[in-house]
Symmetry: C2
Subunit: 276 residues, 2 copies
């Protein structure tokens, strides 16, 4: 079922490009135009079939029924005024950024039909070479409407995500950012710190434990420093909670307090089993 005649995806990296593939696979879009600051990335996306045409400038949005902002956070915000000025009146604009408060407050002020989205998909891999239409299957996509969001827009975008295999959860932008600080941004911060603390000469004796725990520290640096900074206050709160846990374990260890140690580990383990 074609939902949109023309879709413009800005940023044809892992999420943007995979969205193109998924939209085309489900025949939800007539024509998909992809814009990337890395022309090579956009060309690969076209070759793979994720987009029909490479757009060379933001001008392309003028014919769009749906614009998908899939660049790092700062660019989403930078591009917004120009996009707002160029789109058709009824064009829907969504983003796929990892933090929502800042993006939603800026973009919904400029674009009436804007809806913030955050697909919990993707990986530490980036670029067009890793695109796959099925990346959203079985994943969760969080939509963050405001009081101003029209129900018809929310429903249309919900349908889009469900059609490509995601389960939709609706949250306010600030609740989204509070939760994701714990479930995504803190784990990334910790993974970077963990690998950073391992002396170089020890690395060759690492096992799957260190590898899994730090996998996400192979993620894109610029993307993640923007995420950390744009969710700074919630992330600092989450970090405090983590430091408290760490101190509890440290005290038990210092005191050779096996009972406390086992109690803390056991509570943690029970929680882990809930996300199997």
């Amino acid at each position: 079922m074609r939902m949109f005649n023309q879709v413009v995806i800005i940023g044809t990296g892992l999420i943007g490009g995979s969205l193109g593939l998924a939209l085309k696979k489900q025949r939800l879009a007539g024509k998909v135009i992809g814009i990337s600051r890395h022309l090579r990335n956009a060309k690969i996306a076209k070759k793979i079939g994720a987009i029909d045409k490479v757009g060379l400038s933001l001008e392309a949005v003028s014919g769009a029924d749906l614009v998908i902002l899939a660049t790092p956070i700062d660019k989403i915000i930078d591009f917004a005024p120009e996009i707002a000025a160029k789109i058709k009146k009824d064009c829907i604009v969504i983003d796929v950024g990892s933090t929502k408060e800042r993006i939603v407050s800026r973009l919904s002020a400029l674009i009436p039909n804007f809806l913030g989205c955050h697909p919990l998909a993707g990986s530490e891999k980036k670029g067009a070479i890793n695109l796959e239409a099925d990346i959203f299957k079985g994943s969760v996509c969080i939509l963050t409407p405001t009081v101003k969001t029209k129900p018809v827009i929310l429903n249309k975008i919900r349908f889009l995500w469900e059609k490509i295999g995601a389960s939709v959860v609706v949250l306010s932008p600030d609740r989204h950012d509070q939760i994701l600080a714990f479930t995504s941004h803190l784990p990334h911060l910790v993974a970077f710190s963990l690998i950073g603390s391992v002396p170089d000469k020890c690395l060759k004796l690492s096992s799957t434990g260190l590898r899994d725990t730090t996998r996400i520290s192979a993620s894109d640096i610029k993307l993640w420093s923007q995420i950390f900074l744009s969710n700074r206050s919630n992330l600092l709160t989450a970090l405090l909670a983590f430091e408290k846990e760490l101190v509890d374990l440290k005290i038990a260890l210092k005191n050779k307090d096996k009972k406390s140690l086992e109690r803390i580990l056991s509570l943690a383990q029970k929680k882990r089993k809930k996300i199997e």
Copy 2:
């Protein structure tokens, strides 16, 4: 090539049982006897073919040419005097514990032909149900001889691990414990703290990032509290280094210092790429 007529494996869990399977697959052992405090585990191990016979008590070691201690650390140490008293004079004894200083100092004092081993294999899964002969293929096994270790014993055990697919690294017990504090014990401690700090109500919005980062916190509690306590001092040193990294990131974040943030993340990322 049969290296040992009779092998006794004490502890038929993931590592002990998989060792049994691997030894039999490579025809390195004549008869393999497995002893487990969980009789059910030992019976499954026999059914799978990891052992030929279930041993009901430590008496079984009296006929062994090789005894493999594959229980949690405390039991390795507890069983040592009885094993020392019962084995044949030329019997080789190895263990597969995750810390080495304490085990090697106790056991090498009691058993002349003792050699500490630590295969960097295994996972958060435990029990006989997850046994596989190939778990050691492509893995690293660390051997921790002392000045008293006979070269012939070291060579024989090195050959055994290489034969079942592991690359052997030789380290002193204290160097082993210093390194593993960083590459294995710290990641486990951090994973337990990380999942422990996530509020329950946030868990359902976790993505692969949190799942991977905390996978090892599903590991056995008693096993890991013993590992933490037996490598306490090195682990506290590693924890300090980690806390320093964390504070650096926290300060950059507090100060909205994008440049420092990117520099720290970039150093971490480069290190991560070395363990791909």
